[in-house]
Each structure stands twice: as C-alpha cells, then as structure tokens.
Amino acid sequence: MTPAGGGPLVAVRDLTVRFPTRHGVVEAVRGVSFRVDRGQVVAIVGESGSGKSVTARSLVGLAGEGARVGAAELAFDGADLRQVRGRAWRALRGRRVGFVLQDALGSLDPLRRVGAEVAEPLRAHRIVPGRQVDAEVVRLLGEAGIPAPESRARQYPHQLSGGLRQRALIASALAARPDLLIADEPTTALDATVQRQVLALLRERVGDGTAVLLISHDLGVVAEIADHVYVMKDGRFVEDGPAAAVLESPSHPHTKTLVGAVAGHARGARPGRVSPSAPEAAGTAREVLRAEGLVKRYTLPGRGEFTAVEDVSVTVGAGETLGVVGESGSGKTTLGRLLMGLLEPDAGRVLLDGRPWDGLRGPERRAARRGVQMIYQHPLSSFDPRYTARQILEEPLRADRTPREERDRRVALLLEHVGLAPDVLGRRARELSGGQRQRLAIARALAPGPQVIVCDEPVSALDASIQAQVLDVLEDVQERLGVAYVFVSHDLGVIRRLSHRVVVMKDGRVVESGEMEKVFDHPEHPYTKALIDAVPRFSSRFRRVPGGRA
C-alpha cells in the first residue's frame, strides 16, 4: 500500500446522497465537490442536518442504511471508491482511513476494555504480530497523551474522563497509521480547556503527514486548525476557501451567522440598532434580587459531602442582565435554583425585592414565586407533555385567576412579544421547532409578570442561527418590559452578547465579578484568563468584525 504520491488524497466531485423513505426520497447531500491533500486539514462546517456527517461517512461506505451514493468522482488515493463493494471497504476502513466520532462514551464499546478497542484495528488489519499487540496499544495510548497507558488500557471507557476517552478514540483511529483521519465533531462534548488539548493532539498528527477531514458545527474549533474550510447548508456547500479568508471575510449570509456566533458581539453591538446602555449606571439600578453568602451542600451516600455552592453573593438590578459563567459542575445551575427559592440554602439568604424567601410561607411565598421565573436548557421537558401551547401559556394566568377574556388578550400579547404566530396555540410543544419551543418558554416565563427570569443555558441546545434569533428575542423583551435576567451559561460568546455584569464561578465559588467589558477585556483571576484563552478564536483583528445576522 504505497501512496501513489502526486494527486490529491481525496477527490470528490458532485457527490449526492439520497435516503429513500416511506414519504419519498430525502436528499441529504446535493452535489458537493471537495478535495483533501496529504498533510492538510480540511473542515466541513454546518449546522445539524446540513449533511456534513453523511458527506464524510460516504468516503468509507458508511453513509447509512439504504443510502444511495452517487458522484461524478469519488476517489481515495487514486482508487475509484464508486467501484468498492461490500468486503472491499474493509481494506480501506481503519487501515487507510481512521474515523473519530463525537461522544467517545458511546463510540467506544462500553462493555470492552479501552485496550481491546484500540487493538481492534491492529488485529483486523494484522498491523503487528499478535503477541506485540498489547505493547503497541500501550505505545499508541501514550502517544495520544494518555498518562499511565498500561493501567488505562485495562480500564473500561466509563472509568475515563471525557478528554481521555476522546484521546483513546483518536489512538484507536490512528492505530493502523491511516493516511486520512476523519474527525466528526471530535470535541463537542468536552469542556473548553479539554477541548483545546484534544485539538492540539489532532494538530500534532497533521505534523506526521496524516490528512484530517474535520466535521464540525463549531467555527471556533475549525479556526484553530483548519487549512481549508467548506461551509455546508441544506446539503450544499455555500462557501469555501482558505480558512483565514472564509473566517475573516465571509461572503455568504449563512457563514456570517456562524462567524458571528463565535465572535460573540458585545452587548448592544447588534448591527442596525441603537446601543442601549445598561438601565442605569450599574450599582445604582433598583435592586430586585439579592443573594447573601449562599451555601448549598449535598450529602452523597457513602461519599461524604459535596459543596455545590460556597459563599456566593450576587445582586441583580431591575432590567439588567447578570451573566453567570462556569464550566460543568461549577455550581451555576444550583445557584439558579437557590435564587428561585426552589432550593433552601444551608446558609445565607436570598431577598426578592428586599424580602427574604425564608420569611415567606404558604400563600405569600407562592405569590412571591411569580416574581422569579425560569427558562430551561431543554424547553420541551419544562412543558407538561399533555398541554397545547395555549394551555402552556394560560397556566400561569389561571394560577392567579385571570378572567377568561383577559387571558386571551394576554396570550396574544405574549405571542407578539416573542414573535410567534397565533397558529402555534393549537399545537403541542413537541410539534414545534427548537426555536419555537424556546420562544414559547420565554413567553410563558413572562406570563406571571416577573421581575427576574433565570435563564439556565437557554440556547445551548440550539443551532447557531436559531441561537442568534432567540437571543434577539430575549434582548427585545428586556428592552420592552424591563425584566432582569440571571443568565447562566458556559458559553462566553452568549454571555458577552447579553450581559451587563458578569460573575465567574469555579467549584461553587465566585472567583471574579464585575462589569462585562472589564471582566472580558481585563480578566484578573487566572481561571477567568484561562477560560477566555480557551475560547478558540480567529485573530484579534477578527473580534471587531460585527458579522451579520441571517
């Protein structure tokens, strides 16, 4: 298997992939052309359902059950892949082309040891003699940057952290020294700092001459390592070019949306809008929510105590947005619950409009609850599955006995606030799109007329273009109604876009807080610095490009 040299490693012209279904043929890929050269990193970027994964999988004959793949040219190292059938694919898979899928917990067989998974391509293609397999596995794991590879090889996937699992998966994909590595969302489930390390590992492999085809929804990741970028939407490439060119001066509106999502506009930097300043100078705004020295601990059976929130104090002024930043497990979600009075703190107290939660009982407390509402990451699970959109919106109004005609009027108004058409009212939430569901959730949160809405990762589950729309709605609503947000997110771009002030949480503590601009531009705590550094970015120049809205 000597490389033919010369031509491109991968050459694809007019690739189409169709899936026949009961309701007609679904065209997932509609005529895309691209090439990958040796030692090059090529990225295909697109939102979910754009066809990017299917495109990549077509190269190893795994486009999916019943897929009809057609192409004017589909070549790997000069060999025509259109002629490859059945077993012949196996010579290519693992041996010439390595494959890394996202979600390493599911992509490594959970019932087998990590070592056995890494050894599989070695044995399948007889890369090394049988008795040397174990030693080779240990070497590969070590090469992928896994400490103590001998003992890790004997462990099961669930015993490894997300980052180590992803490294093991990469080690297994690279075991047979393939010429091309296809990486499908290789860092999606990882925290930012771990994500960086995995990207570094991929970049290192390119140094060895292995070509990488990177599939991602995340332009930030792509910006880190790609040489050439294809932007995909609805089965077609809408734009392509050298990474720097595409990212710095995107021409297609869709690319602009994706770029804008990464760059993260500062608050009020939305194009075509007058920049609204914070309601009043921070600190002088009327205080609506105040937390003092909150502590929340959980007892874990047999494993002692776990402190979720440790001595946290925050204030929220009327009509302002407090961003709460942190990685998974930092205690930000628990803080949200404490602010809503859904959890009792072990120490400290929360005051709503100057009145402490713990001083309120019975009907008084229930009435006060209406002052703080919540928007969840997954709106679908926050709606009673039996309810239509109308029932969902009416529920908070029924709770305070709003008369019928008044309810109808208020429901219509709520829909208008969030930009939903009245025809959604008859449908159940699961019949709505992701963006519509989150708009509905915002409308419901507004219904009781709250002063504060706690938003728990409200856009993390949405594609970039939908994300931008939902953030617009949140911003509009705040301007119109003067509601305050406590905006909890791991996503610095989103935080930057919406917040007036920011607190940064780590291990249940607030490590830094202040005006948004100050924290982002002049972070003081090392952790904040690390977080901001870990965000993949294009170049410093780039951050000033405002990027359009789709």
């Binding site: 077993r87 693992g94 599911g106 087998r112 990882l190 059976p301 990685e327 998974s328 930057r496």
Partner: protein
Amino acid sequence: MAGVLKTSPAGAAAARNGRRSGRGRKTLVRLVLVRLAASAGVLWGAVTVTFVLLQVMPGSTADVLLARSAVGPEVRAAIIAEYGLDDPLPLQYLTYLGRIVRGEFGESYVLRRPVWDEIAAQLPGTLLLVATTLLATAVAAVVHGVVSANRRAWVRSLFASAESLVVALPPFWLGLLLLTVFSFTLHWFPAIGSSSPAGLVLPTAALAAGPAAVVAGVLREGLLRAMDEPFVVTARARGIGEAALRLRHVLRHALLPVTTLLGWIAGSLIGGAVIIEIVFSRQGIGRLALSAVANKDMPMVIAVVLVTAVAFVLVTIAVDILTWVIDPRTRDAGR
C-alpha cells in the same frame, strides 16, 4: 456555537459523584455479600408473613397445623410442645423462626410424614423440568431472535405477531394440544405420568414456548438497538467484519436485558411447572403444593412457599453476578 465551554452530562455526573475517585467500587465478593444480606432480610420477611398467617387463620394454631386430619390427643400435645404454642406470642415467634432456620418444617399431619422428606422426594423432578425448560427457552430464543433481527421491517412484525400469539396461549392448554397431537394421535411421545427422558419433551415444550417468545422479542429489540449505537459505526470504520462485529460488540449488549429476563423466568418457572406437572400428571413440587392447598395442609404449604422463595432468591443473586461479569459499568459506584 460561540466561545465554547461545552457542558457534558457525563462530565457533570462525574463531577457530582466524584466517580473517578474510585471509592464505591464494587468487588464481586462485596456484591455477593450485600445481596445475600438483603436476601436474608427478604426471606425473614417471608417467614414472618407465614407466622402471621398461622396466627390469623380461624381456629387455634394447633388446629391449623393439623388441618382436618384426625389425630389423638397425644399428637396434639406433642405439637403444642414442639411449637411452644403455650408460650407468649413473641417466644412462639422465636421458636418458629428457629425451627425454620434449622430447616425443621415439621410434620405433614395429612400425609403423616415429615414435610422435608416429601419435598426432598419431589424437588428433583421439578428442578429437572425447570432446567430443561430454561435451556430450551435460551436456545430457542437466541436462534429465533438472531434470525429474525436481520430482516426487513414487515418480516420482523410478522415474527412479533407470532410471538404475541405464542405468549397468549395458556401453557396448560398448549400442553393439552401437544398431548392430543403427539401422544394420542401420532404416538410419538409417552402420554402422561412418564418419568422417562422422552416424557420430558412435551412438558418442556409446553412450558418453554411462552418464555422463549418473550425472550426472543427482547433479544431482537436489543440487537436492533445495539446496531444503532455509535460504537457500531466506530467498529465498522475500523474495518472489522460483520460477523466479528455481532459477536464481539452487539450480542453482549443485547444479552444484558435477556440475562435479567431469564433470571426472572427461571424464578417464575418454579411456579409455572406446577400447572404443567398437573397437565402431564408428573411427580413434583406442583402436585405436592396443589394437594397441600386442597387439604389446607399448612406445614406443607408454608414449606413449599419458603423453599421456592429461597430458590427464587438464589437465582436472582446468580443473575446479579452474571450482570456484573457482562457489564463493567455496574461495577462502579453504588446506586
């Protein structure tokens, strides 16, 4: 998506549970000890329930134990002494508990012989039937499940309908039909009351059909679900063959729910065998239990119930051990 610090559910769970610390790891010995302790508690509960039943049944406890058998006053006096029926209730309870723990189930006054002797005589027949049935269930289900999993949707739904039909057949009726066809009409197998190996075939078939259909369905679903897992794509992308894929990856996943189900079936077969033993007039615990119930022979009824409960509990522990072996994920952390 913008500046990305993705949350991972797994990562969050790990952070919450401190899972990577290694504490809470279950060794096999610990698993067995914990399960044995829990089972002992459950069995103690079962013994206590039988004691309460003896107390609340109409008539004196001695009368209940005697059922309707006519015995002289000296036997009656012996029962009262043996069970301490003149003692205060708590002491009676302790005496009762002590007897059961030592395996002293007493005398069946209806059969006029020790309860344990009778059970020991009947148990092997029942256990043999349960064992052959379990084997037949497993073999039939795996063959059927694997064959039917790899088909088009409409073929699969045909298999599923056939399974529904078999599950809906009352096993005793299936037994009658098998007898009618294969014994009385075709004379292939001995009719009833046979203790030869050939006599085991029809009872086993009648008893295994329903469970095999259920297990086959579960196995097929498991295979299909496992084929949709991302690790299957990864394994294929490494260039391994379809046979190796199924053998090394998919089958183990599909066998997990099947193991649990087979354990449950093994337990309930002890009950199911009762009916089949009666259809085929076989010797066994079933007939013993039925006649004990008919005669209100309480020492015998209680002994049969407790013995089968012990068997049931042992099977459950065996399944837990098997799951521990198959699924490494169950070895870490508690519930």
